[in-house]
């Protein structure tokens, strides 16, 4: 009786995951979908606590203690985190899920190695896969976090011919796993530990050469990995909801990765082994020295005040500077004086698709003011002033005219077609893709250096004085 209830609960939980994911992919029902998936997870966990296991000691105290501790940590970090740091947070959560799979697989494998439990050849293979995939997802996600948080510099962690090194490590890793798999059903703990260490190393090495701008794609892929390791662990425990949930996330994560790559007009292979850095450095040195023209806050305030249409193009710099609310105040000031303010959202602006939408929504920017790339490009010729805030690669004209550039062919926002362009930027350093942007030297472009938030506040003050 109880076992049937548990099984039916698992079934309902799995259905809740599937319908929840479906609803999450439509704006109107997205929140309901997330709630449904949360309920599905809660009942699945509850059912697991009640699942009858013959002769088990249960140790409920340990489970409850750990669940409360983990729940509190997870909830507080999710509530406290700044909206701007959301992508990093997702990466950390994903890494911890991978770590959970690693702990499981390692514990079970150590039991197998001392003969406490027997494993069939197939079970051994699945355990090894869980360990391997989970470990790569764990360290890979942590490095992705480090890169997004600005703790890790791309160039410092990339070795010469890093892609070759990755192939060697991967080959060694797969060889080692095959060796353990073939050497009988009671592998030594030393071998298992070596496999774990190399897997952890590979996760780091795999993500190291990938540019920070591509981290969303990587996180999505690692998310799929975590799902797959959860599914593999489900096979070991013969647990249907782990299998279904894990595989759903695995396949959904992979398709989401592909969709994201498509939004950047690149293939997944190009993202993973493309490695922006190296060839661009040479080109930059070759180019002659160009001078960008600057503008002062006061001048810009006047220009904005007497424009009839202004378009804001936000990028990651806006997120870093936490400037979304200041932008909204500028919007209010200008709108009150009859200026039409819109926002052009590039699909991959920021560190994750949709990143800018979330930030601007937080600052209460009304939905109709957000233009997608096509609409923005159409409206560009009739725009008096474009303000680029901390965006770089998504407004790079090299996408059209420089076949040697890594962004060549990527759809971008054609800001140079507007009457005037102002770029708010911290310095002349190239963007995350590590490439220089000819836009900064364009005859229509003026630069305004400084932290976006401070600059915009100063700008707002100037606009207020004009109102007099």
């Amino acid at each position: 009786m109880l076992i049937t209830t548990v099984n039916i609960t698992y079934l309902l939980g799995a259905v809740a995951f599937a319908i929840g994911l479906r609803q999450m992919s439509t704006p109107a029902t997205a929140r309901k979908g997330n709630l449904l998936a949360t309920i599905g997870m809660s009942v699945a966990i509850l059912a697991t606590l009640f699942l009858p296991i013959e002769g088990a000691d249960n140790n409920y105290i340990w489970i409850m203690g750990a669940m409360i501790l983990g729940g509190i940590i997870g909830y507080i970090s999710a509530i406290k985190i700044e909206m701007t740091a959301m992508p990093q947070m997702v990466s950390v959560f994903n890494g911890l899920g991978g770590a959970c799979a690693v702990v499981l697989a390692y514990t079970e494998l150590s039991h197998v190695s001392i003969g406490r439990i027997a494993a069939s050849q197939a079970q051994l293979l699945i355990l090894l896969l869980t360990l391997l995939i989970g470990a790569v997802a764990f360290t890979g996600s942590m490095l992705a976090y480090g890169k997004l948080q600005g703790l890790v510099d791309d160039r410092k962690v990339t070795l010469p011919s890093h892609n070759l090194i990755n192939v060697v490590i991967l080959a060694f890793l797969l060889g080692l796993a095959t060796f353990i798999f073939l050497s009988g059903t009671q592998p030594g703990l030393v071998w298992i530990s070596t496999l774990l260490a190399v897997s952890l190393l590979y996760g780091l090495s795999f993500v190291a050469p990938i540019g920070g701008a591509d981290m969303p794609v990587v996180i999505s892929l690692l998310n799929a990995f975590t799902g797959l390791s959860a599914a593999a662990a489900g096979l070991i425990y013969d647990n249907n909801i782990m299998m279904v949930g894990g595989i759903l996330v695995g396949s959904a994560g992979i398709i989401l990765t592909v969709v994201m790559c498509r939004a950047m007009n690149r293939s997944l292979a190009n993202v993973l082994i493309g490695g922006f850095g190296e060839n661009n450095k040479k080109k930059k040195e070759k180019g002659e020295k160009q001078v960008a023209k600057e503008i002062t806050c006061a001048d810009l305030a006047v220009q904005l005040y007497y424009s009839s249409t202004v378009m804001v193009v936000p990028g990651y710099g806006l997120a870093v500077a936490q400037a979304q609310k200041v932008v909204k105040r500028m919007d209010n000031l200008l709108s009150a004086n009859g200026v039409d303010v819109t926002y052009a959202i590039h699909p991959v602006a920021g560190r994750m698709p949709g990143h800018m939408n979330v930030l601007l929504a937080e600052a209460d920017v009304p939905y109709p003011k957000l233009l997608d790339m096509e609409d923005a490009n159409e409206a560009m010729a009739n725009t008096d002033m474009v303000i680029v805030i901390g965006a770089n690669d998504v407004v790079n004209p090299a996408a059209y005219d420089d076949p040697a550039s890594p962004v060549y062919g990527m759809p971008v926002i054609n800001v140079w077609e507007a009457k005037n362009v102002v770029v708010l930027k911290r310095s002349m350093n190239p963007g995350y893709a590590g490439i220089q942007n000819q836009l900064f030297f364009h005859h229509k472009t003026r630069m305004l250096f400084g932290d976006a938030k401070n600059t915009l506040e100063e700008l707002n003050d100037e606009i207020k004085t004009l109102e007099g």
Partner: protein
């Protein structure tokens, strides 16, 4: 090798489940608007925390004096729980903002 063939033969239904779930996952996600990519990734990430169930089962099956296994299991539950609770909470926070702007 033989045991692998045996495994496949014995678990044919499982293999069906695997393949159809993969297809379902693909179908569920295609045609997602760009603005939902981040919340969707985050929500899917929370679901991958389902691995916590394995950690719970590990603890439940452990000997009450086997503190090593219990501690490792508890570590697994803590990690999985952060993934699940944090993941769903952060997704909800993101999606709440989309609701707000419709008003």
């Amino acid at each position: 090798m033989e045991s692998i063939f045996l495994f496949l033969d014995e678990n044919l239904l499982l293999i069906y489940l695997l393949i159809f779930t993969i297809i379902l996952g693909f179908e569920l996600i295609s045609n997602v608007p760009t603005i939902l990519h981040t919340p969707l990734m985050s929500g899917a990430n929370a679901i991958s925390g389902v691995v916590i169930i394995g950690a719970i089962l590990l603890i439940r099956n452990a000997d009450p004096t086997d503190y090593l296994t219990l501690s490792l299991g508890a570590l697994g539950v803590v990690l999985g729980m952060i993934n699940v609770v944090g993941g769903f909470a952060v997704t909800n926070r993101m999606l709440k903002m989309f609701n707000k702007k419709k008003k």
